[in-house]
């Protein structure tokens, strides 16, 4: 009896001394917390690929820009196919336009991913870091340039992601200030990017100079534009291709004339549910011949005949 009592006491004592901590309620998510990322060069490089990813969605910027012009008609399976595209062709679009909303959302997704890297720019050091950060700065400037061209004044947030809840407090920034930020980013990128990258498709010093030149041009800063574009022509490793006929052929991608080129691949497409997820160029699927594609972006006859004339002239000149 007495023994039993001691046994109970012993068990009690063990229980008391082993009183547990709160660790078991502090379960970690299966995926890495984004606040605890950027612990190695590899993680910076991977996040940078994520920031490049949205470049592929700019097929829509090119396509809609052309449709807005008188070079092309909207096309599609009928005059009602994708109302947002048809309305831009007819210049009767309203603020509720699914395609404009896509451009807005995709370019801001690019901004957000570039900002994510720059938010953690001081976390660790490694040899290639300045190159990585310069690429991120170029990408942020690229996406913001698109946003300003399409929407004018846009919310400008730098070196941090906008967290949920903060979106109501972010106002539109006058586009002059957004341009100023692009200039800062691109000047820094020019200083830190190599003239040639080891991998085709990564942005280079020349790409940053070319983009800065365009950013200047859009602000009518012609002297600055002439200066940076002049430097690019004189010092960049670029030249014109000898045969213009082959310039836009598949085999001539990333040729000596190409300063910056968005990279696509034909092995992985996407569904309508996530066109921005495609690694292939969605424009190819959208803008080709009917029954092979969705048949948007039909060139007008005048454009075709002018192009023929231009090619004839070019041949005579050579």
């Amino acid at each position: 009896m007495k023994n039993l009592k001691y046994t109970y006491l012993l068990i009690l004592a063990v229980l008391v001394t082993m009183s547990c901590s709160d660790d078991f309620v502090d379960v970690k998510p299966l995926n890495e917390n984004s606040e605890d990322y950027f612990n190695s060069e590899a993680e910076y490089q991977e996040a940078l690929i994520g920031a490049y990813d949205l470049l592929q969605s700019t097929y829509l910027n090119v396509m809609l820009g052309e449709i807005a012009s008188d070079n092309t008609k909207a096309g599609g399976e009928s005059a009602n196919d994708v109302p947002g595209i048809q309305q831009i062709d007819d210049m009767i679009h309203t603020p509720s336009n699914a395609q404009l909303r896509d451009i807005w959302g995709w370019m801001f997704a690019g901004v957000s991913r570039a900002n994510y890297i720059l938010e953690f720019k001081d976390k660790i050091n490694f040899d290639d870091k300045e190159n990585v950060l310069a690429q991120a700065r170029f990408l942020r400037a690229y996406y913001y340039f698109e946003l300003v061209k399409w929407f004018g004044d846009v919310p400008l947030v730098v070196d941090k992601r906008i967290l949920f809840g903060e979106q109501f407090d972010v106002d539109r920034t006058p586009k002059a200030l957004v341009y100023a930020q692009m200039e800062i980013d691109l000047l820094s990128a020019i200083d830190n990017l190599p003239a040639v990258q080891t991998e085709t498709g990564r942005v280079t010093k020349g790409a940053a100079q070319a983009l800065l030149g365009k950013v200047y041009l859009y602000q009518d800063k012609f002297i600055e534009a002439a200066s940076v574009l002049g430097t690019l022509i004189e010092t960049g490793p670029y030249d014109l291709v000898t045969d213009y006929d082959t310039l836009f052929e598949n085999d001539n991608e990333n040729n000596i004339e190409s300063v910056f080129e968005v990279q696509y691949i034909d092995t992985e497409g996407a569904g309508f549910g996530c066109l921005q997820c495609s690694e292939g160029n969605v424009a190819v699927g959208f803008n080709g011949v009917r029954n092979y594609s969705v048949h948007f972006l039909n060139p007008v006859l005048v454009l075709i005949s002018q192009h023929k004339k231009f090619m004839m002239l070019l041949k005579q000149m050579i």
């Binding site: 998510p29 299966l30 995926n31 917390n33 984004s34 990322y37 993680e43 991977e46 996040a47 940078l48 690929i49 994520g50 920031a51 490049y52 990813d53 949205l54 470049l55 592929q56 009928s78 005059a79 009602n80 196919d81 994708v82 109302p83 947002g84 595209i85 048809q86 007819d90 009767i92 309203t94 509720s96 336009n97 699914a98 909303r101 896509d102 995709w106 801001f108 997704a109 690019g110 901004v111 957000s112 991913r113 919310p155 992601r161 967290l163 949920f164 809840g165 979106q167 109501f168 991998e199 085709t200 498709g201 990564r202 990279q263 696509y264 691949i265 092995t267 921005q276 997820c277 690694e279």
Partner: protein, 412 residues
């Protein structure tokens, strides 16, 4: 337990009578985990050197303010059995208020939620109240030794209302209609049932150019109207038709649902059937396609062909029109009655079977989805993806098949 009271103890009519009531608060465990923390589970893929390179990115937008959803349910009911327990009857009133309803909702895309592998946040969207009446009655009778039957019928009324929306603008949006239409067809808005359809109201078809000219311009909807096009209502009376004229045009939530079970046994035959009905729910037809080479639905035969031909269906054209903009033209009454199942069986006499070493053989023919009575012009009035905001929209789901089953049960 009222039937235990002295005044009912010996009643030959009321065998059992019980008053019951309950109140409870429940959480919701059908939610994804870690919605409050931003994690590296997005898609970051690009191409370098003509090869796919896989990077990383953040996933759906995190909501650090996320809280439990709370369901407060109040229920009061009567349960009774009458006439030698032949009739059972249950009546319940319920009132369930869901606070901090958890939903994935649209959010400003400056958050980066349109990125590959990202997505909108899960938020505590607001408060929704469901109240209604549940009624169930059953009757069991053995008329003779050979004829028995058992019938039960139930109905539930449902009144759903959004009491509060937490996002500051007063409504959430959801659902998809058509291809590339920017405005979402469904809403969660205070004073309306959740998932209410929000679109343009129509008022017939323009019969002549004079009618078109007398009406506000519809150009802002996508094209100038022509005779044969839908005439939309200028709801806000500003002299122009645009998206500001959208209004509430239907609800995917039924007012009443009911079910009927019937079982009859006669000698060696047995028969069971189940009927189900849904009344007062609207459904959106969302599968009309406007290409030259695609099939048309049969109501294209009743299209507008000239003045006076019809005031219901617009002309059929591949030219530019605003007829495809989401409007009550696409909203139909989705009420239906469906014979869900019927089964007829025959059981062979045991004595004869015992001679050949079997205990029991039953042959039966079972038919499911026997027929559906509905005014809905689409394939299947039960088509819905079930989303709280965006449900009741029929993108041409493959309809339920009718199945015939001929079977035998054998017991050795």
């Amino acid at each position: 337990m009222i039937s235990d009271e002295a005044f009912l103890e010996d009643s030959s009519i009321v065998n059992f009578l019980k008053l019951r009531s309950s109140f409870g608060i429940l959480g919701n465990d059908r939610i994804d985990e870690f919605k409050f923390v931003s994690t590296i589970n997005g898609e970051g893929v690009y191409v370098f050197d003509d090869e796919i390179v896989v990077g990383s990115a953040t996933g759906p937008i995190a909501n650090p303010e996320i809280q439990w959803e709370e369901q407060r349910t109040f229920d009061i009911g009567l349960e009774t059995r009458l006439l030698n327990n032949k009739i059972n009857l249950t009546v319940d009133y319920f009132n369930r208020t869901t606070e901090n309803l958890l939903l994935n909702v649209e959010a400003s895309r400056i958050l980066g939620n349109a990125a590959p592998g990202a997505g909108p946040p899960t938020v505590n969207a607001g408060t929704v109240r469901n109240k209604g009446l549940e009624f169930q009655i059953g009757y069991i009778e053995n008329i003779t030794d050979d004829l028995k039957f058992n019938v039960s019928y139930n109905f539930t009324t449902l009144d759903n209302e959004v009491l509060e929306v937490n996002n500051g603008i007063g409504y959430e949006v959801g659902g998809v209609f058509g291809i590339g239409q920017a405005n979402r067809p469904s809403r969660m808005e205070v004073g309306q049932p959740i998932g209410v359809f929000y679109g343009l109201q129509t008022n017939g078809v323009f019969q002549s150019q004079a009618e078109v000219d007398a009406h506000p311009s519809q150009l802002a909807l996508g094209a100038n109207a022509q005779p044969g096009d839908l005439r939309f209502v200028d709801v806000n009376k500003d002299g122009v038709l645009n998206e500001e004229d959208r209004t509430f045009i239907g609800s995917p939530i039924p007012e009443v649902t009911m079910g009927l079970n019937l079982a009859v046994d006669y000698k060696n035959f047995d028969f069971q059937t189940y009927f189900f009905a849904s009344i007062g729910n609207d459904i959106v037809r969302n599968y009309d396609r406007n290409d030259r080479i695609t099939n048309k639905t049969i109501y294209a035969l009743e299209r507008w062909t000239g003045p006076g031909s019809t005031n219901t269906n617009p002309r059929v054209t591949t030219g530019a029109t605003a007829n495809g903009v989401f409007s009550d033209y696409f909203v139909e009454d989705g009420s239906f009655l469906r014979a869900q199942n019927m089964q007829l069986g025959y059981t062979f006499n045991e004595e004869k079977l015992n001679n050949i070493g079997l205990r029991n053989i039953r042959l039966y023919l079972s038919v499911s989805n026997v027929f559906t009575l509905t005014e809905y012009r689409g394939f299947d009035p039960t088509s819905s993806n079930g989303a709280p905001i965006g449900g009741g929209i029929d993108p041409g789901f493959y309809p339920n098949p009718r199945t015939f089953l001929l079977g035998t049960n054998v017991k050795f």
